[in-house]
Amino acid sequence: MKKYKVVIIGAGPAGLSCGIELEKWGIDNVLLIERREYNGGMLRQCIHDGFGLINLGKSYTGPEFFLSLQKKLDNTRVKIENQAYVLSIDYSKKPYIIKYISEKRGIVECSAENIVIATGCREKPFSALSVPGTRPAGIFSAGSAQYMMNIKNILPGKSAVILGLGDIGLIMARRLMLEGVKVKMVLGLKMTGLKRNLKNCIEDFSIPYREGWSIVSVHGRKRLKGVSIAAVSSDGEIDLSTKEYIPCDTLLTATGLIPEKDLCPLEETEDVYLCGNVKRIYSLVDQVCDAGAYTAIKIARKYLNNSKELNEAKKILKEKIDRSFEELEKSREDESFICTVCPNGCSLSISKIDDEILIKGNKCMRAYEYALSEMKEPKRIITSTVKLKDNPFMLYPVKTSKPVKKTLIEGIMKEIRKIKLPNKVEDGYIVSKNILGSGADLIATNIFMGRKDEVHEC
């Protein structure tokens, strides 16, 4: 039986970051167990941009952000076991025994001095909300639909209503519109998504949205035919006098995430660490990465006695994490215009007097230029996917190399639909040069299958 110092379960952003940070402090003999054939967790299906503004200083797509983590991990001694599913963990004595099943090697047992559980979270299913009505096909949780659309090339429906005004709901609204699905409405009790998502995902596409509303009934016996919605007061009372019917064939629900605690010990156990969304639900991937690194530092402290450097790093990281929460809260409350170009996230006040545009609050010229272009001729980076030649059930993430005029989005999406890529291309491969004369290239943001490590059995 192979003996490890640390076994990390889950190769999403938390698990990857933990592995990278452990190496930084010289902790060797680490195994990362991942259920899927590729690493990255949810980042792989989050093909939109806006990741890494805090930690990497610019906006990445999910696959790109993942790639940056994977490249760092490749320079470590961390062993990776993909397509491996943990069957059980024996917490009764130390070292802990982990039993998992791997497609390559069958049933495997290993021991671990420390266990990091980075299994993320799952979505609360619509059926758990006990909304009255039928149980037809066409109801999906938003993340499930995102996986279908962005990776599996499966279209959930043609016209949709989205329940949930969090980031996932807003981002899926834009995705559906981009990929040709009509979004009839996005609704929820409270707007909890980031300002930039409200702006870029909902307002850009003129999608109707309602705050303080919910779904009160589901209609359709075979496939969904529509939903009834009604206003809900702040104390949770449904006002049926406001009831409206919206025909649609698809309902996406983003009503909450639940930590995936199946592998966790029932009570707090020494040398077992919960890390990332399994511990608490974070809003930003940067925070999840920091949480992964923080866990690594906690483990490293046990092996590097009283290292000053380590204590310092821990303090800095802790402060950074706390600050990111405060800033996030602040940015939610701020009513003004937020620049999304750099992590400064300047709050801009923009006013128009006659034909002159006045911009205040920018720390640098980029924010000024951004605000100006937003006023005159708004531009967006388009992120989407293209077909592969040999696999109809796999899509390849792509994006425009720079922002393109909003007016070109529809045309460019049409072009993207026509493209077929060979099954394997390099990261940054130019899929289409100067697409639709926009001045931007369409580039591949690679699917990275993870390093193929062999974990040899003793």
Partner: protein
């Protein structure tokens, strides 16, 4: 010419088919839906009743008591998990105690054993989580729980292994009596048979009307349920009924064989059998009663709500209502008004059906060789390590976990898809493997299943159904 055609692939039809499959008979079972057990058998509590609910000496009561006990053997033969958990029925007032006494008497008349009226202190010892407001309780050791999906699927498998043919998506449209035999017209071919069992549930009155004027009018009566997440330590081990107060009907809470809790059902008339919607009133009622029974019940553990439809005889007074096994015509036996506890009663009712067929001249000579019981068939992850290693050598797909919540692998899925009674929809898979029944309710596995089924069946993803024809899960490819 078949010896026997069974109309209806629910619990009665399949149990009868399984029991008769040991005899030298050519048997065809017709089911109008695209899978077995799509009617009342599909959506119920999975409780094996002890027989103290129905009127004393009614067929319903007697068949529940006898059927309940027959499941000990059936469970072994069909490898279907059954647990005799016992039950409590709670009374909150003196008025309620009168009703408890009445149930006790009914039970005794029907033949139930071990019934006792107990004090609250004893009830709390048996089930610490129940309401402290009770004044008495009726204890029954015989109440149980069963895996209904597995029961019907395995009944069908054993019947098939012994030569019974099952034709799905085949709706009987007419039955013509010709000299000495029947000619059955369906949307999917015509069949000649000497004998008929009418186990068409909701449509049993209609089927009967093809050969005689039916005494009964059967109408749909809906029951709604709540399902709660599996827990390491379930709140209750017993089935907990309560004496009805005001409009609560027979709502109760029970553990399921898989470790969930189920609460319900309501009872309301609806217009048609496809009206399986839940209603706000119904769901509110279940929540109210559930919390009354178990005050500490957490609604946040809810994972699913659903409705089932009972085949209810509507033209009889309550005091006359019962299960009816009738001879509709020579050689044609009908099971009418079989609603709850139909699962419990099924084995005994099927025995009556068989007896009546035999009285009408059906010869019951045992086959020289037939399969008496099924082999244990566990899902890969439920096997021991030895078996796991053996299976992995056969097929690497067993290492690919598709449903995390219910622990189902690609190997398990392919085995069912290539088996003798393959599903044609996601719900069909769900009934056979529990895939998608866990706490994520298909969030993780549905996209995978669409791909697996598309590839296995060589169809585009928009052909994959959730359940019935028309219930398309997706609208094809994005690109």
């Amino acid at each position: 010419m078949y010896d026997l055609v069974i109309i209806g692939g629910g619990i009665i039809g399949l149990t009868t088919a399984r029991m008769l499959s040991r005899y030298n008979l050519s048997i065809l079972l017709l089911e109008k839906e695209n899978d077995i057990s799509e009617g009342a058998t599909k959506a119920n509590s999975g409780v094996l009743a002890a027989g103290f609910h129905p009127r004393g000496s009614s067929l319903k009561g007697i068949s529940a008591v006898k059927g309940n006990r027959m499941y000990r053997k059936i469970s072994r033969e069909l490898k279907v998990p059954v647990k005799y958990t016992g039950s409590l029925m709670l009374a909150y007032s003196d008025e309620g105690v009168k009703k408890l006494n009445d149930k006790y008497k009914r039970g005794i008349i029907n033949g139930a054993k071990g019934l006792r009226i107990i004090e609250p202190s004893e009830a709390f010892k048996i089930e610490p989580a129940i309401s402290r407001k009770i004044v008495k309780a009726l204890y029954s050791p015989e109440t149980g729980i069963i895996d209904v999906f597995k029961l019907v699927y395995n009944s069908a498998l054993l019947a098939i292994y012994n030569g019974v043919q099952i034709k799905l998506s085949t709706m009987v449209q007419d039955i013509i009596c010709e000299d000495g035999h029947y000619h059955i017209k369906t949307n999917n071919g015509e069949f000649d048979t000497k004998f008929i069992v009418n186990a068409a549930g909701e449509n049993a009155d209609l089927i009967e009307s093809y050969v005689c004027s039916s005494k009964f009018i059967i109408k749909p009566r809906r029951g709604q349920f709540y399902v709660f997440e599996k827990e390491d330590k379930p709140l209750i081990d017993h089935v907990i009924y309560q004496v009805q107060e005001t409009d609560e009907k027979g709502c109760f809470i029970a553990p399921t064989i898989d470790g969930n809790l189920i609460a319900g059902p309501t009872s309301e008339n609806v217009r048609d059998y496809d009206d399986k919607a839940t209603s706000k009133d119904g769901l509110d009622k279940i929540e109210r009663v559930s919390k009354k029974i178990i005050p500490s019940l957490q609604m946040s553990k809810l994972i699913h709500t659903f409705s089932g439809i009972r085949a209810n005889i509507s033209n009889l007074e309550k005091s006359e209502k019962d299960f009816f096994i009738e001879r509709s015509n020579k050689g044609m036996i009908s099971a009418l008004g079989i609603k709850n506890p139909g699962i419990t009663s099924a084995p005994y009712l099927s025995e009556i059906i068989i007896k009546k067929l035999s009285e009408d001249g059906m010869k019951l000579s045992e086959k020289k060789e037939y399969i008496r019981e099924l082999k244990e068939d566990r899902k890969f992850l439920d096997c021991n390590d030895e078996e796991k290693k053996r299976l992995l050598k056969e097929d690497k797909d067993y290492a690919k976990v598709i449903c995390r919540c219910e622990k189902v692998t690609l190997g398990d899925i392919k085995k069912v898809l290539r088996g003798p009674l393959p599903p044609v929809s996601l719900n069909g898979l769900k009934k056979r493997l529990r895939i998608g029944m866990g706490k994520c309710q298909g969030g993780f596995c549905t996209p995978e299943l669409i791909e697996i089924l598309s590839k296995e069946w060589h169809v585009s993803p928009d052909k994959i159904l959730m359940s019935k024809e028309g219930s398309k899960v997706s609208k094809g490819f994005v690109k």
